[in-house]
Each structure stands twice: as C-alpha cells, then as structure tokens.
Amino acid sequence: MSEPTPTHSPRSAAAAVAPFSLVRIWTIATGTVTQLVRMKSFYFLLAFAVVIVAIGNINIPSTPAKELAMLKKVSFGTMDLFAWLFAIVSTALLIPRDQEDRTLYTILAKPVRRIEYLLGKLGGVLIVIATSLALMFALCAALLYARETIYVAEEFTAMQADGRYSPEDIDSQIGLIRAQGLQPGLLVAVLASFLKATVVAAVTIFFSTFASSSLFTIIVSVLVFLIGHAHSLATNFWLAESKHNAFVEIVVKVVKILIPNFQLFSFSEGIVLGEKIVPALVWQMGGLTGGYVVVFLLLSLLVFVDKEF
C-alpha cells in the first residue's frame, strides 16, 4: 500500500496559519516567564525584604504616623526602583539569550510572526514584573498592617490611661496613624510603578532589537531612563545655568521630543504621601502607557521585521 500523498502545498499550509494568534503570543509569554524564573530573578525579593525590615527597625525620634510614612515611602520607592531596573535587565537579556541558545531560530522557523514574538517576550516580562510587584506589595502591606495595628493599640492604651483625652481626641489621633497605614489607594501606587516599568520594558525591547549585546542594551536603556526622568526636572536648572542659551534650548527640546517623559509615571509618590487619587488621571496615564507600548513595539517591529539571523 502506497503512502498517501500530501494534499496541501507548503504555500497553502502557510496560508492556513492565522495571521495573528493570541495563543502563540501566550505560549511565548509563558515560555519567557519560565526563562526568567530559571534565571532566579525572584531572588531580588529577598533584598527588598531586607530593605523594608531594616527601615522598619530604624529608631529616630518620631511619631507613629511619621514612622509609618517613612516605611511606606522607602517600600514604594524600592518597589519602583526594582520594577524599572528589572524591566530593563530582564528585557535586555531575553532576545540575545534566545539568539545564544538558538531558541530564536527555532521559534522564527515556525509560523510565528515577528510581532507575536515581540509581544510574547514583552508579555512575559510584564507578567514577571506584575508578579514581583504583587509579592513586594504583599510583603510591604503585611509589615505596614502589623506596625499600624501595634501603633494604634499602643496609642489607644496610652491615651485612655492618661484620662485627659476625650473619645474624639483619641479618634482623631488614631485617624492620623490610620491615614499613614495600609490604605486601598496604595494599590494605585503599585499600578503606577507597573505602568512605568511597562514603558521602560517597551523602550528596552526596542533597543534590544538592534543592539549587539545585552550590556549595550542595559547601559543605553538605563541612560535613556535617567534622561527621560531627569529632563523635566532638570530643564529649568539647565536653562537657568546656561542663561537660556539657544543651543541648550534646542538640545532640551530635541531630548523632550525623542525621549519618553518617565517622570510623569512617578505619580505614585503623591499617592504614597496620602494625596487623593484622581481616577481620570490614572486612566489617562494608562492610556499614555498604552500609546508608548504601541509606538515602541512598532519601532521594534520596524527594525526586527526583516532582520536576518
């Protein structure tokens, strides 16, 4: 009995493949997560734990509310730092690592579009960042809640024992401590750090499409991040220092146009200080993040689409 002859030509088989598949992106994303987990990337959570436990044990003359505020600021500052740093390092490592391992050739030899590959890689990094932020927040929230509970109990006992304070006085004092304790709004501060890390990852993936090494990508991405963070802070300073020199003004404008404004994404600082959250602004920041991701993915695709390996 003879073998059945194939009924589809390679061309028709390719045509049968969906032009864009979320399943393929998800497969690459989950593979990226596994890849990052194997790189022991979650170990930095230990460093985070050490930082917040250390800051929680610093004794300076302060009120309970101020101690909680300090703990929050350091925890969220560290979270933000780890998130963007992790976004840069992990994204910078992925494409070169795939090239070294020759996984990239295997993937691209299959009917996987290059945009799907880029989206999958970015998705994987973002899943790991989101998980890390969630774990860091859980750690921070547990410590904050424990401290808040202790402070509230101590303050309540001390004020009651004193006998001079009315229930309103006690309530207002407890309210001061609670305002600096664990609040639902802090989740939005975590979201702000995630949005910042998302843009950083998108920018880094763009650099890694044409960079010759991971080191180059990391250095350039960190520089771009610092410039993108500093330009809105330092513009006035530079202009004043240079007495509004025309050349400096042009340089500042070019930098502002070419490099993303990362400072905008630091709105978690206000939330951590206890400022009221404006939902419309959070949505707008989400939209801006989406815009950045689309633009930098398109730029990455522009470089990556017909790159020969």
């Binding site: 800051i55 610093i58 300076i60 101020k66 505020a69 300090m70 600021k73 350091v74 969220f76 500052g77 560290t78 933000d80 730092l81 963007w84 910042k196 991040f225 610092l226 963070h229 500093a230 809105s232 802070l233 330092a234 513009t235 006035n236 300073f237 004043a240 220092e241 502002k256 146009i257 070419l258 404004n261 990362f262 400072q263 905008l264 630091s266 709105f267 600082e269 206000g270 939330i271 951590v272 200080l273 400022e275 009221k276 959250i277 404006v278 602004l281 707008q284 920041m285 801006l288 815009g291 633009v295 398109l298 730029l299 522009l302 470089v303 689409v305 017909d306």
Partner: protein, 280 residues
C-alpha cells in the same frame, strides 16, 4: 510599505516616527503633567538652590526617580547631624529635603523643631562657645526656623502643624507673646486645628501689650462657650485681665482665681477645682 522599507534607511524611519510621536505627545504630556501637579500626585521640580546643594549621589538619585528614597535617606542623615549637634549641616540637609518633598509637612515641622527648639536650646547651654557667639547663633537658628516656617507655609498654606511648631519657637525660645498669639490665631482658623490653638491665642494675646481688651473679649467668648472651655488657665487669664481692665465686679466671672484658691484650699466653698477636677 515594502518599497518604503527597502528604499528608506531604517534609522531614518525610526527617527521620523519618534519625532512625529514626540511632537504629538509633548502637548498631551504637558497638560497631563500640569494636572498631576495640581492634584498633588506629582511633585514640582526641586528648586535650583536645592539642586546645587545636593551631593552627586543624591542628585543622581533624584533625577533617576528615587526622590522619596533620597529624601528618606537625607532625613536619616539629618538625624545624624542632630545627634552630633551639627546644626549647619542639619539646616542644609533640610533645605534639600524640603525641596524634594515640599508638600510633606512633617519635614518642615522637623526643620523648625530642630533649628528653633533643639539648636537654640543647645546654644543656651553649650558653654564651650563664648556667650556673645552663643547669643548670636541662638538668634540665627531661631531666624532660620522662622524662615523654614514661612517657606513651608507657602507650600502648605493650610498647615496647622507648621504653625503650631512655629508658635512653639516664638513661645518657648523667643518669648514673643505678640507673635505667638498671631501664629496661634492663624492656626486656629485652619481646618483641623486643635481646640487648644484658640485658647493659646487668647492666652498670649492677653500678654501682648495693647491687646488686653481684644484678648478679654476673645477669652470671655471662649468662657461663654461652656464648661469644656473653662480650663484653669483660661479662668486665670480672665481674672488677670479683669484686674488689668478694671472690669466692674458685677460683670466679672464668678469663679475664683485658680492660683489663689490653690494656695487657700480651706477657704474654698467649691468642692471642685476649675475644669471639674475634684479635690481629694
């Protein structure tokens, strides 16, 4: 599209896309930034002086988005300066800290407390420094504390805590009753002001020459609010003012002078002290 990709160098295309999107996003981001700053979610840039005073690492940290971390580190550093009584360095640290987080009232309050209370107290007792120099520095530190308070109030116009701390400097260190009364007077009309701010405004107004009648009217107003306001000090100040202003006996408050009664417990017919405290 393929023709475009093959004819135009990729770097040019990338730069064009970056420039076009940059031009589109610039006004959007400027508006967003203004709204975030107005909502106090984003901090305004640190002042030029603060940038110049920052160490290289602090500056890098600030520019790199670690503003709150740098501020916290500087608070710990300022505490070291406090421990070693290095008041000049402490003032410099707080100049930077308050520039980094101008809306955090606690930094302004700490700066006023350190300079206005601790540094001045140190100048009152540090005998290693000649007395003339100590007096000069005492005034200088007090002036620095007042300056911090003024800057802090520009950033946080409704702050009660900054005013209360400033009032303490005027009250405890500068012994300026008129300024103390003025600052408590400002504090008491702010939202969330403690009840004692009103009483303290009255007490120190009573000791401010030329304002006795105003103080009497204010304190009598508090007295008429009810028993919760009739603290021993309030009664004492009203009694003093009644004597000073020669208020007719019939219009005077019925309570005895608390100091006199404390000295003469046997003569008192009232079994409780002012404020409802029972005599054991």
């Amino acid at each position: 599209m393929k023709t475009l990709l093959s004819k135009v160098p990729r770097v040019v295309l990338v730069l064009v896309v970056l420039a076009v999107t940059g031009l589109v996003r610039a006004p959007i981001e400027a508006g967003l930034r203004n709204r975030l700053v107005a909502a106090n979610l984003l901090l305004p840039p640190p002042g030029q002086t603060a940038m110049e005073q920052m160490s290289q690492s602090a500056l890098m940290g600030t520019l790199g988005g670690l503003r709150s971390l740098v501020a916290t580190y500087l608070v710990l550093e300022a505490f070291e300066h406090f421990s070693s009584k290095d008041w000049e360095q402490l003032a410099q640290s707080y100049n930077v800290i308050t520039s980094l987080e101008p809306r955090d009232e606690s930094h302004w309050v700490s700066a006023i407390w350190h300079l206005g209370i601790n540094a001045t107290a140190n100048m009152q007792i540090d005998e290693r420094i000649p007395s003339f120099e100590r007096e000069r520095r005492f005034r200088e530190y007090a002036a620095q504390a007042i300056n911090f308070a003024e800057r802090g109030l520009q950033q946080n116009p409704q702050s009660v805590d900054i005013r209360m701390q400033l009032a303490e400097v005027y009250r405890e260190k500068l012994k300026d009753n008129c300024e103390t009364a003025r600052v408590y007077g400002e504090a008491m009309i702010q939202p969330g002001a403690p009840g004692m701010a009103r009483r303290f405004h009255g007490y120190f107004l009573a000791r401010c020459p030329g304002h006795e009648q105003e103080a009497y009217d204010f304190l009598i107003g508090l007295y008429r609010e009810g028993l919760q306001q009739r603290k021993p000090t309030l009664i004492k100040e009203i009694k003093n003012l009644e004597e000073f202003l020669k208020i007719p006996v019939l219009r005077r408050i019925p309570e005895d002078d608390p100091d006199r009664r404390l000295g003469e417990p046997a003569k008192s017919t009232n079994p409780t002290l002012p404020g409802g405290v029972e005599i054991p």
